[in-house]
């Protein structure tokens, strides 16, 4: 193990990790937004849109991110749409993540028993109010475990961005292996970098889920 090598190239990893986190953050943010909108469209069954959403979700869930990225990065310029590595990475992540988040919200919405809706209606709330005050808060709580699994999944998926020339962690590691043949050091730093990013996220979500379960939220099986 070459400590000097590690300390020399550590800043490169820090920089790359920062980029990975940044892209993941933006991508996940928009994924949540897109997923939420898609699940709403399906929930209230907006005529044509909900078919389109269905098709999008199937396409996105049944193809690999890498291929989606190749298409965006190498294919689209041929019809005049030229994306930078960064926007390509974000677009790809959102295309993938939107469908996963939509499914998470959908299962949350579906888990709320119909009697909740009816008893909301029976105290004179409008449909909109029932959705806002009764269905939505419960559905969001129920979908937290699926949501957090998706966040971790999406952060992991960012590792393929080097394929569209984004100078992320994989890119740096591959570079160092190729240039200096310092495989052990490069790989060790790579693993460490991902642990530093993913471990806290994973721990935080585990704690939140535990707290939620303790609070008994969304546990409707009691009747």
């Amino acid at each position: 193990m070459d400590i000097q090598f590690i300390s020399k190239y550590l800043p490169m990893y820090v920089e790359a990790a920062r980029l990975t986190v940044f892209i993941a953050f933006i991508g996940i943010l928009f994924s949540v937004l897109l997923g939420f909108i898609c699940s709403l469209i399906r929930y209230i069954k907006i005529p044509i849109l909900h078919k389109i959403v269905d098709i999008y979700i199937e396409l996105s869930r049944n193809t690999p991110l890498l291929i989606q990225l190749f298409f965006l990065y190498f294919g689209l310029p041929k019809i005049g749409i030229r994306l930078s590595s960064e926007s390509c990475a974000i677009a790809g992540l959102v295309f993938l993540g939107g469908s996963y988040m939509a499914e998470a919200f959908r299962s949350g919405l579906e888990s709320i028993p119909n009697i909740q809706r009816e008893s909301g209606l029976s105290i004179g709330l409008t449909k909109m109010q029932v959705f806002l005050y009764i269905i939505l808060p419960q559905a969001v709580t129920v979908s937290i475990p699926a949501f957090s699994a998706n966040v971790i999944f999406l952060i992991k998926e960012t590792s393929v961005f080097s394929a569209v020339a984004l100078a992320d962690l994989m890119y740096v590691a591959k570079d160092l292996i190729g240039l200096y043949y310092k495989t052990d050091e490069a790989l060790l730093m790579l693993v460490m970098a991902y642990l530093v990013i993913l471990l806290p996220v994973s721990i935080i979500f585990t704690l939140i889920e535990r707290k939620m379960r303790y609070a008994g939220f969304g546990n409707q099986s009691s009747f």
Binding site: I115, Q116, E118, S119, G120, L121, S122, I123, G124, L125, T126, K127, Q129, Y133, I134, P137, Q138, T141, A215, G216, F217, G218, N219, Q220, S222, F223
Partner: protein, 257 residues
């Protein structure tokens, strides 16, 4: 308790799911302060009747009128109607993410736009009456079935409904909790509340009802006072139904003779 002011009118109501007729030519008038108990074998359409009144089901023929105004199949303004008709369901249908007092206040504040302070005061008074004031900040999961059901009644009451509908609200409760819920209803009846009750508790039905409506095979078969219905049922179907609740003594010991 009953007077001549008609509150709820059901005329020639017919309800179908696809081709199955659930309710056929139902005619009922309900007067102010009256307690009507709907009895009948399971699957006779009693619960559907309540759900139709509360607009949770559309109907195929006939109409339902509240204070002379048609309320059936009125999707747009139904939430205004429901503010005047309270309903309590069989399952303890409290909102699990809200505290007890929040559960009760949701309707008055959001649907009726009432002042929060006044509504809170009233909610607390009602909770005190059903003996649950100390649970005001608990969550539904911390309450027993009977307690949840009492809260559900308070939640409906706090809307100042003109009619209250009770759909087998003790059917899912443990036997020892049934009483505490029925007592709340008896008290409401004493105070002159207008109520339509679907229940399987025959003793209770007899005690609380001004009038019994017996439904079977989607029609009204008999309509009479509780005394008449339980002691002298006119139809054989009603007799048969009441027999289900009597048990013959199987093993005769001396003390039974």
């Amino acid at each position: 308790m009953k007077n001549d002011e008609k509150i709820l009118e059901i005329k020639h109501l017919k309800k179908k799911y696809d081709d199955t007729v659930i309710l056929n030519d139902i005619n009922i008038n309900i007067y102010k302060g009256e307690v009507v108990v709907v009895l009948g074998p399971s699957g006779c359409g009693k619960s559907t009747l309540l759900r139709c009144i509360n607009g949770l089901e559309t109907i195929q023929e006939g109409g339902i009128y509240l204070n002379g105004e048609k309320i059936s199949n009125q999707d747009k303004k139904m939430h205004f109607v429901r503010q005047k008709i309270g309903m309590v369901f069989q399952s303890y249908d409290l909102f699990p993410h809200l505290t007890i007092v929040e559960n009760i206040l949701l309707g008055p504040i959001k649907a009726q736009g009432r002042d929060k302070k006044d509504a809170t005061q009233e909610a607390e008074k009602l909770l005190e009456r059903v003996g649950l004031l100390d649970k005001r900040n608990s969550y539904p999961r911390q309450l027993s079935g009977g307690q949840k059901q009492r809260v559900a009644i308070v939640r409906a009451l706090c809307m100042h409904p003109q009619v209250m509908l009770f759909d087998e609200i003790t059917a899912a409760l443990d036997p020892e909790m049934v009483r505490e819920v029925l007592d709340v209803m008896l008290e409401l009846a004493k105070e002159g509340g207008t109520m339509v009750i679907v229940t399987h508790e025959m003793q209770f039905a007899r005690a609380i009802a001004d009038r019994i409506i017996f439904l079977d095979q989607s029609r009204i078969i008999e309509e009479s006072t509780p005394q008449e219905f339980f002691e002298n049922p006119k139809t054989s179907r009603a007799k048969q139904f009441l027999n289900v609740f009597d048990f013959e003594v199987v093993k005769h010991s001396d003390s039974n003779k």
